[in-house]
Amino acid sequence: MISITVQSAPFSVDMALASLEGLGGGAIASFVGLVRGDDGVGQMTLEHYPGMTETALRQIAEEAATRWSLLGAIVVHRVGPMRPGERIVLVGTCAPHRRNALDACAYVIDQLKVAAPFWKRERRGGEERWVDARDSDSGAAGRWR
């Protein structure tokens, strides 16, 4: 079971992970990304490529499901404006045992960072600026090859 959702509304971690509980696995692993609030950012806005976003996330989740023999995976990613402390993204994976669930979860978020068409814009004071991609993100994605 692969579930991919791109939405502007906040999401429930509980409900997303509960959807993985009925699959018969012994292990569910998850990651939640939040808007950081430690460096003066007032608001963050996520732009995306409608159509391609869902396809790219599904492709990443399907790769993970195949590689780690998952029973299920879920990705929920918000778009639009959001504030420090709010949830941006959730990745959840379900497998018979924990090693595969944990590794697949890390893989999905590492790949999403470099292979899903989202772009972040930050507002500090009155100014908006686009966030630059990080070399550390491509390094993290590369370690799964």
Partner: protein, 85 residues
Amino acid sequence: MVLTIVYFAWVRERIGIDQEKVALSPGIASLRDLAAWLATRSEGHRAAFEDMSRIRVAVDQEFAGLDAPIQGAREIAFFPPVTGG
């Protein structure tokens, strides 16, 4: 050949539009050729494509390299490196 070109993030902001339809001459074979040609359309286009190392591309909603051919494409998107998650 008529193509839809879509732009995102600061690429869109510099050009000033989020998409346009273009008719290409046969001489434009690769995505790199296309970017070079688009860069001549306005000052905004020139500024957007000024540093090609900061430009990424998708062809019919799949990531592609700049040396990939345009042949058969219907929608081409130009955007900065992605920053989701």
